[in-house]
Structures are given as structure tokens and as C-alpha cells.
């Protein structure tokens, strides 16, 4: 058993540009998917929590269908189906769309849960002082729901980074595919998969820390002041 550590180190140095490029693709496609998926998911979650049946049912159907499909099938289906559907997508675009759809279905459930956990009095109080529904959402419900949803949302964001590895299957040169390409040159399977794992861990650990920081930061914000 020889781990060939010096060879491994020299291979990391030789391929550092590729690895950084791969890590950057992972981070950017995940960030894109998380940002767009969160916006879409918040709209769908709002529909799940407050819309009337004609809007709520399609939203429920969307969430249940996407959540019942493995992400890998979603990625492959988006990529292969885009051409016959008349909208050819590059692997990166197809991957970003698939991850966005997946992220939206998770955020929708998180957001619905957070909105429904708020006491109904909040909505009624907003109505009583004559706010329109969009304003009630913006000033009354969302700031409180955000605090409730934050911890689960951070977990979902880390899941997205993990799910982005599946884009390697359709040929997006993210961190995992890059590692595989490097491995096909030097056969250091164990070492480079370990390195890939360590980098994913580092990215997700940062997201975790950021989430903890944000949760702590949001803890006190927006709480009603005590009457003087």
C-alpha cells in the first residue's frame, strides 16, 4: 500500500488551474440554482400557503412531482428533453435549470411551512391597518417567516452544492468531472476523489457557518419593541 503522496502533491500543483476552474463552476452553478430556485420556490410556497384552489393545486402538483423524481433523472431529462422540446440547452444551462427546479420544490415546502407557522393574527393585523396583501407579505409575513425558514434553507442550499455533482454525468466540467479527468491521466483514484470530497466538505462547511451566523444575526432583528 503506497499512497504516493509526493506524486499526488505534484499532480495537485500541476492541475491547480483545472481544479480551481472546476470548483468555480461548482460554486457558480450552485449559486445560480440556489438564487433562482429560492425566488421561484418562495412564489410557489406562497401559493401553497395562501392561494385559492386553482393556483394552489398546480403548485402542489409541481412540488410533489419534482420531489418524487431523483435529481439525476431530473438532470438527464432536462438535458435530453430540451432538444426535442425545441429549446436546445447547453449542459451547463440544462444543469442549472434542473437544479433550479429541484431547489424550488424544496424551498416551496420550507417556505410554506414557515408561513403557516406564523400566527394568523399577524395577517389579520396587517389587514386591519389597511395594508394590501403584497405589503402584508413584504412587511409583516416575510421578515418573520425568513427567520423561521433560515436553518432549513441553509441545509437545502448545502444539498444543492451536493446535487451539483450530478451535472458531471451530462458533461458539465464542475469539480467532480474535473477530478475524474485528472484521474484519467494519473490514475490517482483514491487521492483525487478524497480531495474532491474534502473540497465539497469545505464549501458546505462554509455554507453551514454562514447559516449559523445569519441565524444568530436575524435572531434579534425585526422583533417588536417593548412598549415604553
Amino acid at each position: 500500500m503506497d499512497l504516493e503522496l509526493s506524486y499526488f502533491l505534484s499532480e495537485i500543483v500541476a492541475n491547480r488551474g483545472m481544479l480551481l476552474q472546476g470548483a468555480w463552476t461548482t460554486v457558480s452553478v450552485s449559486a445560480l440554482a440556489i438564487a433562482s430556485g429560492t425566488l421561484l420556490g418562495m412564489l410557489i410556497g406562497l401559493a401553497l400557503a395562501y392561494a385559492s384552489a386553482p393556483l394552489r393545486w398546480p403548485a402542489r402538483l409541481y412540488v410533489d412531482l419534482i420531489r418524487g423524481t431523483p435529481v439525476l433523472v431530473l438532470v438527464l431529462a432536462t438535458y435530453y428533453m430540451s432538444t426535442p422540446l425545441g429549446l436546445p440547452l447547453t449542459p451547463f444551462q440544462a444543469g442549472a435549470v434542473a437544479l433550479c427546479l429541484f431547489c424550488a420544490s424544496h424551498v416551496a415546502e420550507i417556505w410554506r411551512g414557515a408561513l403557516q407557522a406564523l400566527p394568523i393574527g399577524q395577517l389579520e393585523a396587517g389587514r386591519a391597518i389597511g395594508l394590501t396583501f403584497p405589503r402584508i407579505c413584504l412587511y409583516v409575513l416575510f421578515p418573520q417567516a425568513m427567520r423561521l425558514a433560515m436553518p432549513t434553507w441553509v441545509t437545502a442550499a448545502a444539498e444543492m452544492v451536493k446535487a451539483s455533482t450530478l451535472l458531471s454525468v451530462i458533461g458539465v466540467a464542475e469539480l467532480l468531472l474535473t477530478s475524474q479527468q485528472i484521474i484519467s491521466n494519473n490514475f490517482l483514484n483514491l487521492q483525487f476523489y478524497f480531495l474532491a470530497g474534502a473540497i465539497y466538505f469545505a464549501i458546505n462547511f462554509c455554507i453551514d457557518m454562514l447559516g449559523k451566523y445569519l441565524s444568530r444575526h436575524l435572531e434579534g432583528a425585526g422583533k417588536p419593541r417593548s412598549p415604553v
Binding site: L76, M81, P84
Partner: protein, 218 residues
């Protein structure tokens, strides 16, 4: 859009798809069984008094939960043979999914254990049970009921992860779907049927587990 649907290649391969689905379910059940046992032990470690065991449980969970399952699968299948630990495709995948499932199940059971009111184990002590019997006869039945909804969620999500076995050519549903897709080019048909099979199976699993949950309810 002028696409003519032709499901013939899909129906011709229908037995293969079902076979793949059955294999995926088998892999999931086996891995979740192993993962649940390991998760249960780790959950008791995480909620116990021993600081080293607690650190072990938390360390395991935070490392494995932050790793992509695909990386774990590839590491075990392609990386471990370098250390002389070579497994065949299915065994590697079950090993990877079990390790992954163990981390998620630890969290499920840990939350379940935290939800057990301390009064009942004190009651166990009061009637003179040994610490082990308290865990087995008093804490465990209550905890399992607490943990059922989260267990069901994780079961479904781990079943969906069996699609990744296609990456190391384990012939499960996604593997066959890719094969039929590249042989027949009936893209829309193959992927819509595959997705429908997964959705139906996930729905059935959650229905089944919800039934079990309501039967177990006190």
C-alpha cells in the same frame, strides 16, 4: 413542436425497467436497514453522556452529511481498490448508501430521542430496570414513534439516491433508462416514463410508511 410520440421502445423494454426498479428498491431497503442500525447506535452515542462518543457521532454526521453521495460512491468503487479493498458494483453502492444513510438516520433518531420525555426513563429507574432495559423497553418504542415521519422522508430520499448507482453501471432503473434512451432516441417517452415510475414508487413508499405510522400511534 412537431414531435411524434412513439412509446414502442419503452414498452418493449418494460420488463427491464421494472427489473431495474426492483433492484433499486432492494438496494435502498438493504442500505437503509444497515444505515438505521448504525444510525441508532450513533444516535444513542450523540445523546449519551460520554464526551468521546458524542464527538464521534457529531463528527461522523457533519462530515458525511456535507459530502455528495456521488463522491462517496466513486471513492468506494474506484478509490478503495488502491488500498486493496475491492468490492463489486452493487456491494460498493450498498456500502456507500449505508454510510450515507447512517448519517441521516442518526439525525432522525437523535431528534426522536430528544423528544422522549425524561420522566418515562425515570419511571423505568423507579421500577428497578437496568439502564439497558430502560433503553430497550421504555425509550426505544416511544422514540421510534416520534421518529416515524422523519424516517419516512429520509427513506424516500434515500430511495431516490439509488439512481446514482447508474454512475457505476449498477443496472437499476436510471441505468436502463439511459440505455434505452441512447439506443432508441425516444427521449421524451423514456424520461417521462422513468420519472413516472420513480414518482409512483416514492408515493407508494410514503403511503405505506404513513400507514405504518398511524398503526403504531398510541
Amino acid at each position: 413542436m412537431n414531435y411524434t410520440f412513439n412509446f414502442t421502445p419503452v414498452w418493449q423494454n418494460w420488463p427491464l425497467l421494472l427489473e431495474g426498479l426492483a433492484l433499486g428498491l432492494g438496494l435502498a431497503v438493504l442500505s437503509i436497514a444497515i444505515g438505521s442500525i448504525a444510525g441508532l447506535v450513533l444516535a444513542f452515542c450523540a445523546t449519551g453522556k460520554h464526551p468521546a462518543l458524542r464527538a464521534l457521532a457529531f463528527g461522523y454526521v457533519s462530515i458525511v452529511r456535507n459530502l455528495p453521495i456521488l463522491v462517496i460512491v466513486l471513492f468506494i468503487f474506484f478509490g478503495l481498490p488502491q488500498l486493496g479493498l475491492a468490492f463489486d458494483k452493487s456491494t460498493s453502492f450498498v456500502l456507500a448508501l449505508s454510510l450515507y444513510a447512517a448519517a441521516y438516520m442518526t439525525e432522525v433518531f437523535r431528534a426522536g430521542l430528544l423528544g422522549v420525555p425524561p420522566g418515562i426513563s425515570e419511571a423505568g429507574q423507579a421500577i428497578g430496570l437496568t439502564p439497558l432495559s430502560i433503553k430497550y423497553y421504555v425509550v426505544l418504542p416511544v422514540m421510534l414513534r416520534n421518529a416515524m415521519p422523519a424516517f419516512a422522508n429520509n427513506f424516500v430520499s434515500l430511495f431516490k439516491d439509488t439512481s446514482l448507482a447508474a454512475a457505476i453501471a449498477v443496472p437499476e432503473l436510471t441505468f436502463y433508462a439511459q440505455k434505452i434512451n441512447s439506443e432508441s432516441f425516444r427521449v421524451l417517452e423514456v424520461w417521462s416514463v422513468t420519472a413516472a415510475l420513480y414518482i409512483a414508487t416514492c408515493y407508494l413508499i410514503s403511503l405505506l410508511l404513513r400507514g405504518l405510522e398511524s398503526r403504531l400511534r398510541l
